[in-house]
């Protein structure tokens, strides 16, 4: 069971099952799904993700540690996909498991917010018209 992963293959339920050992009374999962709508009207075909892997995995671990301390023992797993992730596919999965649900919700939200803010991962929006653009921020 590796709690922090950067993968090139699709993030699919079997991969999430592997970390089912993480389950506790309340288990909250966040899935980030690539949207077809760029937010400024252009149609997105795919996102292309790139990571500084060593630093990103270390950041995942730091974020999970912080969540465990802030929210009373909750355990967190983070999987991020890199390379091309097409519209409708999962780019990131964050799982948080705690004896009680409030801590699991808080930790899951903290982890995805911090991941977006801090992890050295970048995305390029690849539009249906063939153009592309790097995007930062959440």
């Amino acid at each position: 069971m590796t709690l922090f992963r950067i993968v090139e293959e699709p993030i699919a339920p079997p991969m999430l099952d592997e970390i089912a050992g993480l389950r506790d009374g309340g288990t909250v999962t966040f899935l980030g799904i690539v949207r077809e709508d760029s937010g400024d009207g252009r149609r997105v075909r795919a996102l292309w993700y790139e990571a500084c892997e060593m630093m990103a995995l270390r950041e995942f671990e730091s974020i999970a540690d912080e969540a465990r301390h802030r929210f009373g023992g909750v355990r967190v797993a983070i999987i991020h996909r890199i390379g091309e992730v097409r519209a409708g596919e999962i780019s990131v999965a964050v799982l948080a498991a705690a004896a009680h649900r409030a801590a699991a919700f808080d930790a899951c939200r903290y982890a995805i917010d911090e991941l977006k803010r801090r992890a050295p991962i970048w995305k390029k929006e690849c539009y249906a018209d063939g153009s592309a653009q790097w995007r930062s921020g959440a």
């Binding site: 790139e50 270390r58 991020h80 990131v92 050295p120 991962i121 970048w122 995305k123 790097w134």
Partner: protein, 81 residues
């Protein structure tokens, strides 16, 4: 001394490759490595204020001193998730 520079995302594209090796005189700092690369790829210059630099995996200031064999990573504003 010899410094290895890794550039990511938009910065990688501006430098035309993910990795560059540069030679710097003894006493050089992070800012000198950035300067050397920006002379080779002038489009980099506009990104200095928004770029974070990691030296051997730890975030570093532009004023930090370099040592032979150091690896610098040029990190543009992130966008994961």
């Amino acid at each position: 001394m010899r410094i290895r520079i890794l550039a990511f995302a938009a910065l990688r594209e501006l430098c035309h490759a993910p990795e560059h090796a540069i030679e710097l005189p003894a006493g050089a700092r992070v800012t000198d490595a950035w300067g050397a690369l920006a002379r080779e790829f002038p489009a980099l210059a506009a990104h200095r204020a928004s770029t974070r630099i990691a030296r051997n995996g730890q975030v570093a200031s532009f004023e930090e001193a370099l040592a032979d064999g150091d690896e610098l990573a040029l990190l543009p504003p992130v966008g994961g998730g």
